[in-house]
Symmetry: C2
Subunit: 246 residues, 2 copies
């Protein structure tokens, strides 16, 4: 097993960091790695916002409800970005661009481009001994995050990432069995049994982990999550920012 | 610079492969690495479809217009998947889940989860000396791809990936300057100059690369792309599959 595979398989989300900013050199390497990720038709349809301003970090920590959004080695917000593609367009060309800029195809493209770049950033950071955690909860109040970062139309925040020197070593969280996520040639609709086996695994994990033990299963967790409507305002905010409208 | 950073920075898309399938061990490692990627609130909202059936590969090559979708060491299609989250729901619970399953928030979550897993797969493959290329052109006829793979409602193909032993070594494609994709604290709306500098870089790259030289710039390429409506049917197909409806 090579060093890279070891890094990939060793991932766990880090939510407690030493009071130590990452270095400029580390940040440069992380951004370069992010930029080298694949990108759909060379669109590079994302922007990375570094947040170092303490007041902005405090606001984002409040929105996400997570203290480690304030206390970390560095905070980045990954955004879908189709704005820079319009910068050299005449007003007529811009009008002509709208049906592409605002359709689901390019909403997907920009979200995927941002995620590929982010995952390269995560792997680069972890390979240097840093820890990371994705922050989906910026979507609790997407419009406020958008405002804090001063984003123009056709740019929208998708998720954050905190990085830093780990100050804990959580257990590795189990994943679904391969048989439930990888199929060959035809989707297998009947994978109840695999999910039930996984419920057993995860019940044991929640009971045995170092902190925060509880009684739970994966299918129950998902039922609870999906039967409670959440972030129903994301749709409207996304459209208002000029994405996913048609 | 560690081995992982080297792998990340050395990425180029490979579109010509030796006639050599990847091994079962390689595939297992790649899928394990994909699965260990971060996932939003433990949802693991993606499925990877391996395609080995020659007739299916031929159909997908036709849809994408790319011969290397047929001729490679392995082909995978990454899908957004919220189906398995419904498997243990009663009909009443399922009804209650719909507003979540079908909103933009969970369309985003599943697309991002799929992309994070895919990028881990790509890095794992590249670290073992394999080459990869993402295939966005499966979205040329998304409904047909969906049918070929037999996907249930709440599962939708997003993009493909070909893998294998590289049979060419293309030049590394330049990326936008860091100053155009990474901003601190406040988005910089005035990055015309950075894009113009990049246009110069990319014009030189297109002139000097080993094959397929041409006169072009990045901003022109993007203007051409966005002024020509494309894949306008993706919106409707996505909704029909139970995503991104509300």
């Amino acid at each position: 097993m090579n060093q890279t595979i070891e890094t990939l398989l060793n991932h766990r989300s880090i939510r407690k960091f030493k009071e130590e900013p990452i270095t400029e050199t580390q940040l440069d390497t992380i951004i370069s790695a992010a930029q080298q990720a694949s990108t759909s038709s060379y669109m590079m349809a994302y922007t990375i916002m570094g947040v170092t301003d303490e007041a902005k970090k405090a606001k984002l920590a409040e929105i996400t409800g997570q203290g480690y959004v304030k206390n970390n080695g560095h905070l980045m917000i990954f955004c879908a970005d189709l704005y820079r593609h319009t910068l050299h367009a005449t007003p007529e060309q811009y009008e002509q661009m709208l049906s592409n800029l605002e359709n689901s195809e390019h909403f997907l493209v920009s979200a995927i481009d941002a995620a590929l770049a982010a995952q390269n950033a995560a792997i680069a950071a972890e390979s240097m001994g840093l820890g990371i955690c994705y922050i989906g909860s910026i979507r609790n109040q997407l419009d406020k995050v958008d405002e804090i970062l001063g984003l123009p139309k056709h740019v929208i925040p998708l998720f954050g990432m905190v990085l830093g020197v780990p100050d804990h070593q959580p257990d590795k969280k189990p994943r679904l069995p391969k048989q439930a996520v990888y199929f060959e040639n035809e989707y297998n609709r009947e994978h109840h049994a695999e999910l039930q086996a996984f419920d057993q695994t995860i019940a044991e994990y929640y009971q045995s982990r170092q902190t925060n033990t509880r009684n739970d299963s994966w299918t129950d967790q998902m039922l609870r999550r999906f039967t409670n409507p959440m972030r129903m305002d994301v749709t409207g905010i996304v459209k208002k920012k000029g994405f996913n409208k048609q």
